[in-house]
Each structure stands twice: as structure tokens, then as C-alpha cells.
Subunit: 172 residues, 2 copies
DNA sequence: TATTGTTATACTCTATAACTATA
DNA sequence: TATAGTTATAGAGTATAACAATA
């Protein structure tokens, strides 16, 4: 009923910015820039959603060569910083469903970036570790992620980016 | 390949905050608050994603009684402020796929909030209007949305919310 | 009994292509 | 030919429930 999905996924348009409209008389439906957004502009959620679309698109574009999404990056980073973590712990920490993390890890394990090691103390759980290759790769991913972060700074300004991080520091 | 979906949907946990862990000795996987987030904290995208999850959850919770999602609200608001707009125009303006907007409008039309009127000048397109009931309802939705916005201000601070809107004002 | 990881199902959203009716 | 709206399909993500192994 109220458990509704309200996406913020992405979309990297192939024909970005191209194709405006050749000639002919402009029709009322055409002047998209003149469309009134009304109250929407006063809503933090709207701005944040649009910003997140941009930021995720840029992240994916910047890390396209290594084929790593923001979610994959966050999983790798947390495992790298906390070797031996269980799947439950990673899922809770990042707010990912544990059922979904299974598939994410399947993929990362197939790519030899992560390994699951059966815990000896609690054989129900898996201790998560980066592989040697995963450790090396993550270093490269971090360089690219830093580049993405510079794009953010360019887009909204260095000072503004820092203020943003400060304002949202409570959401970890 | 790089056109990947990197969600930010939501999840309103039924058992919010409950169920921690009764007794027994704490296990290494249990101290979620001690888990190192490493570089993630320096990324605007991570903070923004977490913030958006919170904000959408609160929006949905606050408008649960009227069963309106952020996306539905944005569509209604734009139509209300720009009567006669075509579906293409709304879709472009809000960054919604036109194929998806069809279903969104089907639902809003079923609920008698919106009506599609065949354009007389271009019979391919529909001019979108709020119904009388839609106009009345939207006023109520806006009151609830304003209440949601106050929650945001309480959460991050009045000043911070205004700074946020200013920083992200470019993303419309 | 409870928890971890897993599998499975239903639903939402994105991306895409194709179809129709108009232009 | 091109465009607006529609329909359909595939993939990603969320929400849930159920199951096996283990605690």
C-alpha cells in the first residue's frame, strides 16, 4: 500500500543533447524549459533526486571502463576496509537487502574480486575478503572514483561540495 | 554494459529499530556501528543516496494516507501548474520515460485526478489537465508535502535545508 | 528457536523496440 | 518520414517469504 518504489535509477541517453527540433513553428508542448515547476522547486527531495541521477550517471560513466557501479563500489570498499565481515553485516551497514547482496557477491566473486570464506567460529556465516586481485583493482577503482568526485566539485563548486558533505554527514 | 541500474528505491522497515540482539557474546559481525566506511564518507554520492532514501521514505510515510508517491506528486504538480501539457512535455521535464508516464497517468486517471484530452490541433497528443477533484486533492497533497518538508528541516536543520536547496538549485 | 545465507516470487522502475495514428 | 502515445519485453532493484544448515 504505502511500500512503494520511487526510483532514482539512471539513464545515460545515447543522444544526449542532440536532436532539438529542426524547423517549423514551435508547438506548445515543445518549450520544455518554460514549463513551470511550481512547488517542486521548494522541495529538497526533488533537487536531491535530480542531483543523484546526475551523480550516479557520472559515476557509472567515469568507471565504465572497469564496469563498476556505485553499489558494487560501496560493497568492495566496505569489505576492503573491514576484512572478514559477514554478509549480514555488510548488508545492514549499507542498507542492502541480504537477499540482494547474495547476487552482488556472486557477481563480484565470479570476477575474482571477492572471496567468501566459511567462518570457523560460526559455520552459518561467510567471512568476506578481497582477493589479491580485488585489492589491486580496488586501488584503481578508488582513483577513478576520486576523478568522479572531482567532476562533482566542478559541477557544484568545491566549497558547495564540502558544505553538502557536512550537511549530510549524519546520513551514513 | 555501462547502462546499469543503480537503485535508490526504498524500504519502510516494519520492525524499524527494534530487534537488536538479546544476549550472548557479541560476535565480530555484529558491531555494525563500528564498521569502517573508509573512502565512502568522502563521496557526495554516498551521502546523497542515503539522504534520498530517508527523504523518500518520509515523503511516502507522510503522504501514506492519500497514497501518493513522490513521482505521482511531481506529475500532478507539473500538470496543475501547466494545464494542457502533452505527455511528452511532462516526461521530458521530469526525466520520466514516456512509456512509464503512460502507466502513471493510467493510474492517476483511474483515480479521477487527471484527464487526458485529445488535442484538436495535433490529434496525436493529449492535453493533460487536473480534474476538479484532482485540483482539490492536489491542494491537500501540497499541505502534506509541506509537512514532509518540515520534517526535512527538523532532520538537517532549517539553515542547512536552505543551503542545500541553494547548492542544488541547478538541478531542475 | 533463532540466525545466516540462499532461493524464489511479485512488484517497481529503467531501457528499448516496435506498433498505431496521426502529422 | 517523423512524432505522440501505447504496448511489450528484458534487466535491475526492492520487499517478502520460505528453506537448509547451523547456532
Amino acid at each position: 500500500m504505502s511500500n512503494r518504489a520511487t526510483q532514482a535509477t539512471l539513464k545515460i541517453p545515447k543522444n544526449s543533447g542532440a536532436k532539438r527540433r529542426a524547423g517549423g513553428k514551435p508547438r506548445p508542448t515543445d518549450n520544455s524549459s518554460a514549463i513551470e515547476l511550481d512547488g517542486l522547486l521548494g522541495h529538497a527531495g526533488y533537487a536531491v533526486r535530480r542531483f543523484q541521477l546526475w551523480i550516479f550517471q557520472d559515476f557509472i560513466r567515469t568507471l565504465a571502463a572497469v564496469d563498476i557501479t556505485p553499489t558494487q563500489y560501496s560493497v568492495l570498499t566496505v569489505i576492503g576496509a573491514n576484512p572478514g565481515l559477514s554478509q549480514m553485516a555488510v548488508a545492514q551497514r549499507l542498507g542492502i537487502e541480504r537477499a540482494r547482496l547474495v547476487h552482488l557477491l556472486d557477481s563480484l566473486e565470479d570476477r575474482k574480486l571477492v572471496k567468501r570464506i566459511r567462518s570457523r567460529t560460526d559455520r552459518r556465516s561467510h567471512a568476506l575478503h578481497l582477493t589479491a586481485q580485488g585489492t589491486v583493482s580496488l586501488r584503481q577503482f578508488k582513483l577513478l572514483a576520486a576523478e568522479h568526485e572531482r567532476h562533482v566539485a566542478e559541477k557544484i563548486g568545491k566549497e558547495n561540495r564540502e558544505q553538502l558533505l557536512r550537511i549530510l554527514s549524519g546520513f551514513t
